[in-house]
Symmetry: C3
Subunit: 161 residues, 3 copies
Amino acid sequence: MPVASDVILGEGVQIYHPDLVNLYGCVVGNGTRIGAFVEIQKNVSVGKFCKISTHTFICEGVTIEDEVFVGHNVMFINDRYPRATAGGGLQTEEDWEVIPTLVKRGASIGSGAVVMCGITIGENALVGAGAVVTRDVPDQAIVVGVPAKAVGDVRDRKEGA
Amino acid sequence: MPVASDVILGEGVQIYHPDLVNLYGCVVGNGTRIGAFVEIQKNVSVGKFCKISTHTFICEGVTIEDEVFVGHNVMFINDRYPRATAGGGLQTEEDWEVIPTLVKRGASIGSGAVVMCGITIGENALVGAGAVVTRDVPDQAIVVGVPAKAVGDVRDRKEGA
Amino acid sequence: MPVASDVILGEGVQIYHPDLVNLYGCVVGNGTRIGAFVEIQKNVSVGKFCKISTHTFICEGVTIEDEVFVGHNVMFINDRYPRATAGGGLQTEEDWEVIPTLVKRGASIGSGAVVMCGITIGENALVGAGAVVTRDVPDQAIVVGVPAKAVGDVRDRKEGA
């Protein structure tokens, strides 16, 4: 089941290709749109009127507030030192602690960005395409690069620029 | 429908897994090959004898000429300041202008590259894997890095190197 | 067939969404887990008790030993100068030599990393998320960035950190 029965979808959620996504155990708010080839794991909360673009992966531990734009192929992370195995077998949930990440209202995350764990991305902040976010992003900040550094403030750009 | 009825496919186009792609409103030239987990949006034109590799996203506004190699997981962009919402609801097509990108004949774009909008990638140019392309790439240039910078000319490398 | 009939799967291999992967001509060892939207090509060998996370692409020429963690959206490469065409038609297998890559036992590769061809990633090494790996990674090394550079040794970090 690409959209598992335990997913809680708000009113008007648009999933154009429910057969080409993998959603389970998550909550998605009213009016949010989800593209193809997206995986959203359990215990994720996505707010209202968000856009979650194609090829994006949202892992357990991520909370996305309302009106957030998540570009294509954005990767979230919840484990700083991932390993395949522990004690001779595959790691299970007991073997690591999920480190949470918060994306605040109105933020935009550009395509191809990678967001490390334990991060807060501030309100209306803009993360550039291809950035690797390794520390908190202040409200209204524009960050770009690897690792991502602040290069401006979204309030300084002209509308329509 | 993973390959929508409005897609115009040339002769001999190869889509190995039509159930694992999302194509709509685009034109694909003769002899081009398209991998799994690819999305190509409306008003995209892909030329003849191109390779579009797995996991790649080609958005509205992109024109790809003939004999272009697009690696795996390449992301194109058509909006410099994406936002989820405008005026209280999800953004619609009326809320932004699509900024076009052109990839010229014979160019190659390495896997994981991100191509910002408003870019022209020149003939036979080579974009390195993982590059973030933020400005035009001249014909025959080799560019790598974040942001992508010129490091050579494709005519200088030995054949078979 | 998203899991082709010529794939050799060990005991206890977990593929949660066999309809959302593309595997052909490869060997996968006992107890390994494979996420959605993964492509694994022919002549790839994946060891035992590995985790191959969503959206990852493993091309021909890659050998992954046992107990390796491959994050989400990791891209391997087997051709340094890819081109779409040769002699007027699409390139075929005869037109390039596959350059092999080896990932040794216990290594971890972070999400969004790109691994160039001809690389060896050493035992227990840790490749940071979003890194572009352009040269060999020693055993036990931690590498990050674009291009990836050594920043530490996995034996120096405290357990549980």
